[in-house]
Symmetry: none
Subunit: 226 residues, 2 copies
DNA sequence: GCGGCCCGTTACGGTTTTGTCACCGCAGAG
DNA sequence: CTCTGCGGTGACAAAACCGTAACGGGCCGC
């Protein structure tokens, strides 16, 4: 889930942005009301995009921006600048410094949202959830590995698909038929012990977390963060 | 050298853009005056960014854009839309379709140039030379050589293409089918050991760095900076 | 034509993965 | 408590997958 940092000292603008962003997409929002807070959040939480109002108390927005660009952790984080001042010169300055976009207030919230979306899509095309987190578990789609308490556990392709199905919706019981269809492409009504076997193998690999996979007798299986 | 395609039927505007772009940076320019020409150029010459005026004779700019997005060759080419019409709704439509930027005429040529520059920097960070860097590896597209710890390793054309595919996105698993398609143009489902053979040859050439190419069983291969 | 390089293919073998089966324990209904 | 059917478990054999060596054809410079 992409993380967005909004830096603005006007609460109503933050609200406006937040409402519009959250309405259509699933973003995680961080908010900062001044430069120092912004820098701290940006460097510790590593947002995927930063929306930066240039009009800030104490520290100027451009100063914040330069500071961001100097730190390796935030050097290449996309930044969209907002400003009440619509003067061309400022815009040029902002873009010259390397801002990825520049909007003058009043702006259309929908436009901002679309620009954020397009920017995100271009910046991390591989994001799309290459790592799935759930409690102490994190699934790495690329390495086909499960990270758990610092350890990396190798999973086979099938095991991975199976675990993914369950971990995607923790606490929800996945019916046998659905799992067979999703992982193996089998039809609903086929009768096989394959599923059981793989569940067992998964539980083994999960070690003492094996009981995170709960059996729902007569229905299917259920995953929950132990 | 980044290639830019300018699509506009007004000569003076093309001129304006061209002069401003060429002044500060070294770009290669392509020009098209209508939709068909634009599509043809985009798909054969593969520009790094497209500047598209929406007001075109015969074929509407938005139609051109949709057509671009449907072809795999131009699907992810950044597009900046230009328009004389400054209506908000049009802007929203353009952005909604996935335009990377949208400027209303009259625009500041300098602003356009900066936006192009920033977009290019984000799109292909490894541009600016035919050398691709990744950790201790650096690939020279012209010489077909891999530089590693001071040594220059000769690669054959195929080996180079293959390594390039993987090194472009470190840590991301490249599926067998995708590699076969990208490097050899084979269809997905073909079964061959050619890929394996070349992976082996690459690993040999990489010497003790050979394990930078990790096999993800049942999926494909994955490169990471060891 | 000759030799060398590059490339795709093939065959083979080792290892991992996977599906099935038989057997067993146990939960839940009666 | 007993019975029954579902799920757990371990073993096993087939299949899938990958690494590797070797082969032969095409291409090019000489």
């Amino acid at each position: 889930m992409p993380t967005i940092l909004i830096v603005d000292d006007e609460e109503d603008i933050r609200e406006l942005i937040a409402v519009n962003l959250l309405r259509e997409e699933d973003y995680k929002l961080l908010e900062a009301v001044n430069g120092l807070e912004a820098l701290h959040l940006a460097k510790t939480r590593r947002p995927d995009v930063i929306i930066l109002d240039l009009m800030l108390p104490e520290m100027d927005g451009l100063t914040v921006f330069r500071n961001l660009r100097e730190d390796p952790r935030t050097k290449s984080t996309p930044v969209i600048m907002l400003t009440a001042r619509g003067r061309l010169e400022e815009k040029i300055t902002g873009l010259e410094l390397g801002a990825d976009d520049y909007l003058a207030k009043p702006f259309s919230p929908k436009e901002l949202m679309l620009r954020v979306r397009n920017l995100l899509r271009r910046t991390n095309p591989n994001q799309g959830g290459s790592v799935i987190e759930s409690g102490p578990f994190s699934l790495d789609k690329n390495a086909l590995k499960l990270h758990l308490e610092g350890e990396a556990i190798d999973l086979t392709a099938t095991e991975f698909k199976l675990l993914l199905c369950m971990i995607e919706s923790p606490g929800i019981t996945q019916e046998r038929g659905d799992l067979l269809k999703k992982v193996w492409g089998y039809s609903d009504l086929i009768q096989t012990r394959t599923l059981d076997t793989h569940i067992k193998r998964l539980r083994e690999k999960l070690g003492n977390h094996g009981n995170s996979i709960e059996t729902v007798r007569g229905v299917g299986y259920r995953f929950f963060e132990a």
